[in-house]
Amino acid sequence: MTTELRGKSAIVGTGHAGLGEAHGLTAYDVMAQSALAALGDAGLKLSDVDGLFCTMMEDSMPALMAAEYLGIQPRFIDGTMSGGSSFVNYLTSATMALDAGLCDVALIVYGSNQRTASGRLVTASRPPAYEAPYNPRYPISAYAMAAARHMHEYGTTREQLADVAVAARAWAQRNPEAFERGPLTREDVLGSRMVGDPLTVRDCCLVTDGGGAIVMVRADRARDFPKAPAYVLGSAAASSHRQISQMKDFTVTAARDSGARAFAAAGVTPADIQAVELYDAFTINTILFLEDLGFCAKGEGGAFVEGGRIAPGGVLPVNTNGGGLSCVHPGMYGIFTVIEAARQIRGDAPGIQLKDIDLALAHGNGGVLSSQVTAILGSRNTL
């Protein structure tokens, strides 16, 4: 059952700034440069923007800070903070706001300078009271415990986790915008420094600077822009917990629910998807989301990713820009899943451009496997 919102909005511009290291710039500088880049891509100006969808790591009122910095007075603002999934979630609220006439040009935007500012994850989020005394390293301890449980229940191996990182690097090596492009083998991953068992530093996403932005309009205007639009065919959110100790089943994420609803809304199935962009904060994420979104059965994710099956030339193109593991990870990566999915459809992917992409999936993760948001984008052929 597709929804009334299927294909009602379209991405007509994407942009980014400060990927890797943005020396001397604040997070809001990077945010603003990203906004200008996306608007330039769409042939629009900041003064055209009347809907703003933004959150940042630094503040409790980042959307207001961003609007002030950009010098705009949007008539619609959404600053919902569900972690890195927020920016996939904004596809839903932007589509609703556009469809209802609450705004005409929606700007989704994010920026961070965490690498050059501090070299580690910067967050205004407070550690949960019933977890903080035990000093979990946030967020890796949570993902490590999910990986440990998956290995225990399904026999998933560290080698299979490593293959996720190796595949991401292979995509990144062909992407000039990617931050880490050196060679990486399974042995390199297994032999690198253990951070939180069973995850080594190479099982973890990068710590980079960077920002991204997306410009959306109603579908009826979408053909009036310089480049081909990417239509939002379906998007759905689900959340299961905030603190990792409250996760009911450490091997099943709410992506099972968000994915099922996004596919239903779009009227397509996993077999139809030609490019898959997943929020890979850690190698276990890719395995969990491939299972939960229905690309393989529960417990089979390890075998599914093994030996280059999601690398270039494999059975399914996953994280075609190199992902958070090798391309960019500025605190929150979610917006880049949408940008890469849209670019594959629009034909301007920075790395390997897949042929004739009509359907791509973007999946955002937030918190500690807490919030899951899935979106399916399509070309004009899918309307």
Partner: protein, 125 residues
């Protein structure tokens, strides 16, 4: 906290006195953790406190790697108590890497970061 009223205050006061209390719903009979003003299962608001049995199993575990000069590696785990609730904690008395999933553990009140906290040790026998 002489006049503790809220669920968190009551839990913490008991802990400071060496006691582990768990909230149990009068309506549906299920335990929950963390303490709160309603039952997350049935949303009832009649909650009683019960002494924890203290027996549980490690549901999942990790070793936080830390340089020796900063104190060395330590365990972080999630324990499922026999009452059916889970909590984050650590297992003490064995090396952090020796803590394994499904291992039977027993709770005790110790100290973490300078505050009273529920900790676990491997169950005997």
């Amino acid at each position: 906290m002489q006049d503790a009223k809220g669920p968190d205050q009551l839990f913490q006061r008991a802990l400071a006195e060496g006691e582990i209390l768990l909230p149990k719903c009068d309506d549906c009979g299920a335990y929950h953790f963390f303490p709160r003003v309603l039952c997350p299962h049935c949303h009832g608001t009649a909650i009683s406190w019960k002494q924890a049995g203290g027996k549980g199993r490690v549901h999942t575990t990790t070793v936080v790697r830390r340089k020796p000069e900063r104190g060395g590696d330590y365990n972080v785990c999630v324990v499922e108590l026999d009452e059916g609730v889970r909590m984050m904690s650590r297992v003490e008395g064995i090396a952090p890497g020796e803590v394994v999933i499904d291992m039977p553990v027993t709770a005790f009140v110790g100290e973490a970061e300078g505050v009273p906290a529920v900790l676990f040790k491997p169950s005997e026998g």
